[in-house]
């Protein structure tokens, strides 16, 4: 039978979870107050238990005797007009790590008669609410139908999965007519050329492919795995481009080829040298679509995935830092305008944040750097970028090579139907009855499983027990095995793969995207020790096959061969795409601006803009101290709440070397010019490295393209321009790209209208710093110090925050003069290395006025400056342009007046000027061109405007 143990807080105890929901109900705008919510946790156990055992489980394992009570209720609740019960549980098939822990702990107590466990939340909502409002609360706050549902009572049984009966499935492509053939292609996400190539291959073999072979080809030839758009042949405005990636981004790296780049565009992450003995690798991935549908689980598995990328680089790296960048719709988006089935941006934001934090915090990886952008066009297509940096011995930085005869070992979580064909599969299932629901397949990440795998892996690596490693990510085993065995060949016994539950077919096992799995090649002599090493950490390792020398991918299920593919065809048979791209610059209306006497209100408004305001609420929920490596934290200044430009860690206790992590992203500029958007993002990421005391000597870049439709030639044109900018700027700054990733076709169709995301390029940068103690922070340090502006200001307001506040995009977005910028950055880093700089901040969103405000309130000091001495790149007569222009390659620098001469000598031949000084008053005062004060605001007020919007 099924037992319910319900655990709740005693009356005297505050219930932060319930309070949070009550506050969110008020946020929904349907109730002004008078609501109280309490949340009880329900644990459902299936099996046979004595009442003593039930009491033991409840009292020893589930309840906190000080703050909580438990009961064995039947869950038969009765609602009254002012008290409502909502019981929410996970859909069958959703893997919840709590259930696993619970079962293990019960068996650890010597109780062996519990066969299954589930969890549920029982919400008790007190307050007068009509059914309609209750339904809104339930659907908007308590339940996500993709993974959860409301139940009215305790289930009688947990549904069982039917057992699987083997049956070989063939896909009839030999006799299919053209229309059917194209349909088969679409079923496996293959385009026309691809399915035709597959057909002629199988015609020559004289047989039809199996479903597993088609799945393998579909996964291996997917955009996700081979980046076929980036490798396509393009016709673009009279240019012929053979392979976009090779001819732009990779070409620049090849030209630069510095000796400190150890492994680029080859492995799961790019690798650079850290010092004589150590190397670091960096990868940034996106997890957009899953996070749009199930924000918490989608984002959590996004972190898990990129961490495994790093674990699967070279012979395996230890993750030492996480970064994350999110793009959401505005948190104040009108509920009524949301297309059906689309979650509100605020809910996506909160869920994603929680998923990223819970997973990263549990893994013990500090989250140090990031950004959050808001734009209406991300409402239906949020972007979630997760990055991880790993550290490994330098002699383990290269990909391993297995020998024929080495065993294929799968480590970590068990395999279920998770993520098969993406989450759309799960959502289709929701209308069916509950038995069918057991096939739904969304996974809640299990960070502790990944931690166990990581701990075991690092030990196995140092004992040199395996010859090669990679992660199981998109496409599951089909991608990981296929890629690893490309040069040798492999034979896999799919029936040996450990399963979460019965009922999976051989092809489901093959393509399952169950998380927290790594794939290893292990010499036969080491297999036993390897299995023991992982077992000691609580992780399962299983031999599922062996590498061969026949360059074939052979899959067996029991005695049956279910896949027999040539590696050469699998990896070399994909036809190159031929694409036509174009670019026509859009013309946006220009605002007619009447000059104002002062810009106090505008500055406060910009500081409160979603894209500018403080993200402290998010940052503090990430552990940025774990591993004890932080040198420059994400929040800096007198009260530890100013916006640091880049993070610095010192990952090795016995080395002075630091690692700087930064990012640049400027989607608004892309509405005007994708080339200069990309250039600006690179400039921004590098500015931040320079601003914290770094140099351009050893900087590596990562690209992440998230684009709208790539079926439109304009959109492809934008992509080409952006990649060309990456090439040009990479060469100009001598900063090679070491890895990258793309996520294309981010658009949403509603009522026949397509909403595309703005073209988004995230540039992530990493830099090695010889002495971490040379770091500087952006907060003003001392009254009386001089304030310099470095770099010329231009009338570049297109795509700026200022224009956005006025409701315009404009046409002149910032460009980059790489030559002068490169010189300026090099000279400024000389000045910081010589200890001539007290504080430095780069100028970005909101321009000079915002950067000055941030330095002042972060330092708890005022400033008095003039716009009259500002270095200009052209004649500008308007205060607002000087205050808010977002021209690139500019810095604000605080210098001790006693070091003026030395500083200016180092900066000789660059554009710079003193604009004023730090003051002991609490005022930011900016004098305009006419000598009047165009800004005069107490720093507390500036800070309040900046902090208020996201003080959730």
């Amino acid at each position: 039978m099924i037992y319910n143990i319900e655990v709740g807080l005693k009356d005297s105890q505050p219930d932060p979870r319930g309070t949070g929901i009550a506050n969110s109900i008020v946020d929904l705008g349907i109730q002004s107050g008078g609501i109280a919510v309490s949340v009880n946790d329900c644990y459902w156990l299936e099996g046979t238990l004595t009442s003593e055992e039930l009491v033991r489980i409840a009292s020893e394992l589930l309840v906190d005797p000080i703050t909580q009570f438990y009961s064995f209720s039947t869950l038969q609740t009765t609602d009254t007009p002012d008290m409502h019960n909502v019981i929410v549980t996970y859909n069958p098939g959703v893997a919840d790590p709590v259930e696993e822990t619970l079962l293990q702990a019960i068996s650890g107590m010597g109780i062996t008669t519990v066969s299954a466990a589930k969890t549920a939340q029982h919400y008790v909502i007190k307050g007068l609410l009509c059914q309609e409002k209750l339904d809104i609360i339930t659907s908007r706050l308590l339940v996500n139908p993709i993974i959860q549902r409301v139940v009215k009572e305790l289930p009688k049984v947990f549904p069982q999965n039917p057992r699987y009966q083997f049956q070989l499935k063939l896909v009839d492509i030999l006799s299919a007519d053209e229309e059917n053939l194209l349909q088969i292609g679409r079923d496996y996400t293959l385009n026309k050329d691809e399915i035709l190539a597959i057909r002629s291959h199988f015609v020559s073999l004289g047989r039809n492919p199996t479903d597993a072979e088609m799945e393998t080809l579909g996964q291996t030839w997917s955009e996700h795995c081979v980046h076929k758009t980036f490798k396509a042949h393009f016709e673009f405005e009279g240019q012929e481009i053979g392979n976009l990636l090779k001819n732009t981004i990779m070409q620049a790296t090849k030209e630069l080829s510095p000796d400190w780049c150890l492994s680029v565009f080859r492995d799961n992450a790019g690798v650079i040298a850290f010092d004589q003995n150590w190397a670091v690798c960096f990868k940034v991935e996106t997890h957009n679509h899953p996070s749009a549908i199930e924000p918490y689980g989608g984002a959590a598995t996004g972190v898990g995935g990129v961490v495994r990328d790093v674990m699967g680089t070279g012979m395996g790296a230890k993750p030492i830092a996480n970064t994350d960048v999110f793009c959401f719709g505005p948190p104040d988006y009108d509920f009524e305008r949301l297309p059906p089935g689309v979650l509100h941006p605020r809910r996506i934001f909160k869920g994603v944040r929680a998923g990223v934090a819970d997973y990263g915090n549990r893994l013990g990886i500090p989250t140090l750097n990031g950004a959050i952008l808001f734009d209406e066009r991300y409402t239906t297509n949020p972007l979630i970028f997760c990055g991880t940096i790993g550290l490994m011995p330098r002699d383990m930085s290269q990909m391993g090579q297995q020998s024929p005869g080495d065993k294929v070992v799968l480590v970590g979580g068990r395999t279920g139907r998770d993520g098969i064909h993406g989450v759309t599969f799960a959502s289709e299932q929701l209308t069916r009855d509950s038995t069918d629901l057991s096939f739904t397949s969304v996974q809640i990440g299990n960070a502790i499983m990944e931690k166990k795998v990581l701990d075991g892996q690092l030990k196995a690596r140092d004992k040199k027990l395996y010859s090669r490693i990679t992660d199981c990510g998109g496409g599951g085993l089909s991608s990981a095995v296929g890629e690893m065995a490309q040069e040798t060949g492999v034979k896999i016994y799919l029936d040996k793969v450990p399963l979460k539950y019965a009922g999976l077919s051989y092809s489901e096992i093959w393509i399952s995207e169950s998380q927290e799995r790594m794939l290893l090649a292990v010499p036969p002599a080491n297999v036993d020790e390897l299995i023991c090493t992982f077992a000691e950490e609580g992780a399962e390792a299983t031999v599922i096959g062996e590498f061969t020398d026949d360059r074939k991918l052979t899959l067996c299920y029991n005695e049956n061969v279910v896949c027999d593919l040539d590696m050469q065809f699998l990896h070399g048979g994909i036809p190159q795409m031929n694409l036509v791209a174009s670019w026509q610059k859009a013309i946006h209306p220009e605002p007619q601006i009447t000059p104002l006497n002062d810009y106090n209100e505008m500055l406060l408004q910009i500081l409160s803009a979603w894209n500018v305001c403080s993200k402290e609420w998010v940052i503090r929920q990430y552990d940025h101290e774990v591993q004890g490596s932080s040198v420059l934290k994400p929040l800096v200044g007198a009260q530890e709440d100013g916006p640091g430009d880049a993070a610095i860690i010192r990952p090795l206790a016995d080395s002075a070397c630091g690692l700087i992590i930064s990012n640049g992203i400027n989607t608004r500029y892309g509405d005007i010019d994708p080339y200069w958007m990309a250039a600006s993002a690179i400039d921004e990421a590098l500015r931040q490295i320079i601003a914290v005391g770094g140099s351009l000597e050893k900087v590596a870049l990562l690209d992440n393209f998230c684009w709208g439709s790539v079926k439109e030639s304009q959109s492809l044109g934008a992509l080409i321009l952006a990649t060309q900018a990456c090439h040009d700027l990479s060469l100009a700054y001598k900063a090679p790209f070491i890895s990258g990733k793309d996520s294309l076709n981010n658009e949403y169709e509603h009522n026949g209208k397509r909403i595309s995301i703005p073209h988004t390029l995230l540039i992530s940068a990493i830099s090695v710093m010889p002495e971490a103690t040379k770091a500087i922070s952006m907060d003003f340090k001392e009254a009386g110090n001089l304030i310099y502006v470095l770099g010329n200001t231009f009338a570049e307001l297109g795509g700026s925050e200022y224009y956005a506040q006025l409701g315009y995009i404009g046409n002149r977005s910032p460009i980059v003069n790489a030559e002068s910028s490169h010189k300026l950055m090099c000279d400024l880093s000389k000045a910081t290395a010589q200890g001539l700089v007290c504080a430095c901040h780069d100028l970005s969103d909101g321009g000079l006025a915002v950067a000055l405000s941030e330095m002042a309130f972060a330092g708890g000091l005022g400033a008095k400056v003039t716009l009259r001495t500002l270095p200009l790149g052209e004649d500008i007569q308007q205060d607002d342009i000087l205050l808010f222009s977002e021209s690139n390659s500019r810095f604000l620098v605080e210098v001790d007046p006693r070091k003026l001469e030395e500083f200016e000598n180092v900066l000789y031949d660059n554009a710079f000027a003193v604009i004023g000084e730090v003051t002991a008053t609490d005022m930011l005062e900016i004098e305009g061109l006419q000598g009047n004060l165009v800004v005069s605001i107490p720093i507390q007020k500036l800070k309040e405007s900046w902090q208020k919007p996201l003080r959730w």
């Binding site: 932060p16 394992l61 000080i66 702990a105 960070a447 502790i448 931690k451 552990d623 530890e640 971490a772």
Partner: protein
């Protein structure tokens, strides 16, 4: 000088053991990691060490409440090991998740035979928070880890750190560390007391003074560059967390 040996206990999800080991090594100790199972199998024996540490992290994902599953496992597998270790003069330190584990196993405030009498529960903010706090030592505490400490500045990183107990229990607690403001004043309110802990309690010791648990992470402030305001020249204003580890090592050496 005698060698001070420290055993750091690991479990799935524990993640601050390495920096804690570095903090002990910086203080002159020799460290060893062991999993609960290795101790249960007697691969490692508590009696070979003078200091036993429960480091921070998320044991078993904190899935049934912070420290709950690990404390249960401890009571099931190692109860007969821990009690003699403590009564024979060993030192025990539980940090963050380790503190939660000690409290839920009834080892703190003790005696263990009384079972759990104190808990660490959800922060008043309802959120996990990572921020720096001033800790002021109680000069009247018997705690050997906090001797001669006035104020230290260290980070917290937890979601369940609010100490709660019935008033009659709180009254008798030997509080070793309080959350205070920069000048050592209690009742400074949030965020100085980051979780709403009763009486601003950050760490407690047992009646021997040798078993000590605290929520904050002194191991994350053992270099000047850990201090969040070191770039402002303020690294020296409040003490390093290292003092806790030095005290433990020096106490063992003084025996």
């Amino acid at each position: 000088m005698s060698i001070v040996k420290v055993l750091l206990l690991r479990a799935p999800g524990i993640n601050r053991e390495e920096e804690t080991a570095i903090a002990f090594e910086q203080a002159g100790a020799v460290t060893q990691f062991a999993t609960i199972n290795q101790v249960a199998r007697a691969d490692f024996r508590f009696r070979d060490y003078q200091v036993l540490v429960f480091p921070g992290g998320f044991a078993y994902g904190d899935n049934l409440g912070a420290g709950r599953v690990l404390s249960n496992e401890l009571n099931l597998k190692l109860k007969d090991e821990i009690a003699p270790f403590i009564s024979n003069g060993g030192l025990v330190l539980g940090i963050c998740n380790g503190f939660q584990t000690l409290v839920k196993a009834g080892i703190l405030p003790g005696p263990t035979s009384n079972g759990q009498s104190v808990t660490l529960t959800n922060n008043d903010s309802g959120r996990f928070e990572c921020r720096w706090v001033y800790l002021t030592a109680n000069p009247n505490s018997k705690c050997v880890f906090t001797r001669n400490i006035e104020t230290i500045y260290v980070p917290v990183a937890h979601g369940e750190g609010k100490l709660v107990a019935p008033p009659e229990v709180v009254e008798k607690l030997d509080v070793a560390l309080y959350y205070t403001d920069m000048k050592g004043r209690r009742q400074a309110g949030y965020p100085f007391n980051p979780n709403g802990s009763v009486n601003d309690i950050a760490g407690i010791t047992d009646e021997s003074g040798r078993v000590f648990g605290l929520m904050p992470h002194p191991e994350d402030h053992i270099y000047n560059t850990h201090h969040p305001r070191w770039t402002r020249g303020e690294a020296q204003i409040s003490g390093l967390g290292s003092a806790i580890y030095h005290n433990a090592v020096n106490w063992v050496r003084s025996l």
